[in-house]
């Protein structure tokens, strides 16, 4: 049984805000394969293409037949807990601050035996256990032993919360609440137990449906925010920057044109102003405070969410300039992740397929419902992953892009099918 997490008391302003100490984060090139899968929420292990042996820890060669052909294969993670212990002392600063810490030895059904962090709900050895790969505070893959059947409160386990960015009791900024996606996002966060959701809105004189109703939720507070205006972003950061635990950047401009379909560069520039420069302004203004609060109590600052697009991976010519702005945003988001990771803040990049909104009105289904996108983001925060591709279209594109980006480029030029 995990004790349900209670809402933490207000911060004691007399004490120094604790600073983050990261767990050991050095990994070799081969070991990063484990991280790449964990970033998507998968447990993958090297599986020898010649003899079929599954191995852990990752190595350059198969431990049975020395083959170098070791593709990463997703694993079920089922296994047997052989032994367990509770760490009561550590010279590592991260663990030292979080003792006691439960550890176990598990023999995976797939073969290898692995050392894992052990969730409080896993019974005493010997027993069945479910192994998952998670990203730790340093953003590196670690293995955690989870119960086969968890209780309703299992996400409140302190160890698991360290490996995720659960919105429960956290304060979240949704940068644009005027769009259906922004509104669905705010609602999903409230439903997930967020303590407070600030909802940004630019150009207050443009009354768009749904915003006034959203503002009636007690957890929601509307705040003026225009990501195209440096001063607006700086002012809001000055007011609430020191309290925001999660930034969800939903600000987006989408005008659906290629190069030849629209004269001039003003629309493309406006897309870049929101989709690329908007992210840059937000990151410059909200990034530092977020980094400084990565260990600030049980509801410390934890994550930054970018709503990108599957078009960021490969240009969809019918939405050409929008795709380009999202590709620019993806590149910047990678930079942001590199700068945030050493501070213990996770950057979650979301690559949805076309969303069912006014700018995709002429696009045939399947289209992603804003509410579905929002719950995918909340789930990703709870799972602590780095990249998600919600929706059928995004999943299919991702597969085709991974299979052969050049072939996909040609297919997209021909209309996408």
């Amino acid at each position: 049984m995990t004790m349900p997490m209670m809402k933490p008391p207000r911060k004691n302003p007399v004490l120094r805000t604790p600073q983050i100490n990261l767990p050991p984060s050095a990994r070799g090139r081969v070991a990063l394969g484990l991280t790449a899968a964990a970033a998507e929420g998968r447990l993958a292990l090297q599986t020898c293409a010649e003899c079929g042996a599954v191995q852990y820890p990752p190595r350059e060669a198969c431990h049975q037949c020395l083959s170098a052909d070791l593709p990463w294969r997703t694993q079920s993670g089922a296994g047997e807990l052989l032994a367990e212990t509770v760490l009561a002392h550590s010279n590592d600063l991260f663990f030292r601050e979080r003792l006691p810490w439960r550890l176990g030895m598990v023999r995976l059904d797939a073969g290898p035996s692995v050392m894992v962090h052990l969730h409080g709900e896993v019974g005493t050895a010997p027993c069945r256990v479910q192994i998952g790969a998670r990203l730790d505070r340093a953003g590196q893959a670690v293995l955690i032993g989870l119960p086969e059947q968890g209780t309703a409160n299992m996400a409140d386990d302190t160890m698991l919360r360290e490996m995720a960015s659960d919105p429960k009791y956290r304060k979240v900024l949704v940068t644009d609440g005027k769009s259906p996606v922004g509104q669905a996002m705010a609602r999903a966060l409230v439903k997930a137990g967020a303590d407070l959701v600030w909802v940004g809105h630019a150009e207050p004189w443009k009354q768009l449906p749904g915003l006034a109703e959203l503002a009636t939720l007690p957890q929601v507070a509307l705040v003026p925010l225009d990501v195209t205006d440096e001063r607006s972003v700086a002012e809001l950061a000055g007011q609430i920057g020191g309290k925001v635990d999660i930034v969800v950047n939903t600000a987006e401009l989408h005008r659906s044109f290629g190069i030849a379909a629209r004269r001039g560069t003003d629309v493309a520039k406006a897309e870049m102003e929101v989709n690329y420069f908007g992210l840059l302004r937000l990151a410059q203004c909200f990034g530092p405070a977020l980094k400084g609060r990565a260990a600030d109590g049980a509801t410390h600052a934890t994550a930054w969410v970018n709503l990108l697009s599957i078009y960021a991976l490969a240009n969809f010519p019918a939405h050409g300039t929008f795709s380009a702005s999202k590709a620019a945003a993806l590149s910047l988001a990678q930079c942001l992740r590199a700068e945030m990771r050493p501070a213990g803040i996770r950057v979650l990049n979301v690559f949805p397929g076309p969303v069912d909104d006014e700018w995709n009105q002429n696009l045939p289904p399947p289209k992603l419902a804003p509410a579905a996108l929002a719950s995918a983001v909340v789930k990703a925060l709870k799972d602590g992953v780095e990249d998600i591709y919600p929706g059928d279209v995004a999943q299919e594109w991702l597969e085709r892009w991974r299979d052969n980006p050049k072939v996909l480029e040609r297919e997209l030029a021909a209309g996408g099918t």
């Binding site: 443009k206 009354q207 205006d229 440096e230 003003d266």
Partner: protein, 267 residues
Amino acid sequence: MTTTQELLGGFALGLTTGRIRIVDLTQTLSPEFPAIALPPEMGQCQPFRIEQISAYDERGPGWYWNNFSCGEHTGTHFDAPAHWISGRDLPNNTVDSILPQHFIAPACVIDCSAQSAADPDYLMTVDDITAFEAVHGRIPAGHWVLMRTDWSQHWARRHDAVAFQNYDATGQHTPGPSTEAVRFLVEQRDVLGFGTEAIGTDAGQGYHLRPPYPCHSLMHGAGKYGLQCLTNLDQLPPTGALVVAAPLKIEKGSGSPLRVLALVEGM
């Protein structure tokens, strides 16, 4: 007979002694100042944006300066005849080619503030103009006509962008001139141009008048100018104010943000 030298000297003396007072009719350019909004699929006038280059810091230790950007029709601004399709073929129809003597001209200020307070969609009528003339005399040719509504105070005093723009599901609701009033000022009075306090020279619902946007269409079609987002019109006398309104000299510019000053009787 007064010499030109005496005229200019007297003018300068009037300024230094305060006998001529300067009223600033300009709203401050800021990122928050409401911008005109067209349906989102159309091209948009960019709002005012400003970014620091340096402020006595590592980017420039001894100096402070900014880059700014905006549309030609952002903030308190001037409309040249070429702004509208009806004025596109006229001579000297852009801000760089307008005769400079048009940048300083007297103004008649017609007070429609009571009507506008009662009805945000108020359209100034020909009767409003003739009533003004009955008291203050006929509007001379070459004068600005400024429609005072006190609408600017939504922003200038209360910083209320929602009230200033006043949108509902049917669009914007701000006062402006009726088609007949515009036609009268153009055809019967040969004014220099028309100025307002709201976001455009036309009323918020001006698109639904005949012709759509009559002030833009008829004024610019006749080579007249527009001024909008003016403020402090309540400080001007009905007649006798001299308006200085010189737009930026943008090559083939359709308009520009500008500082609008009125010279009025002082102490």
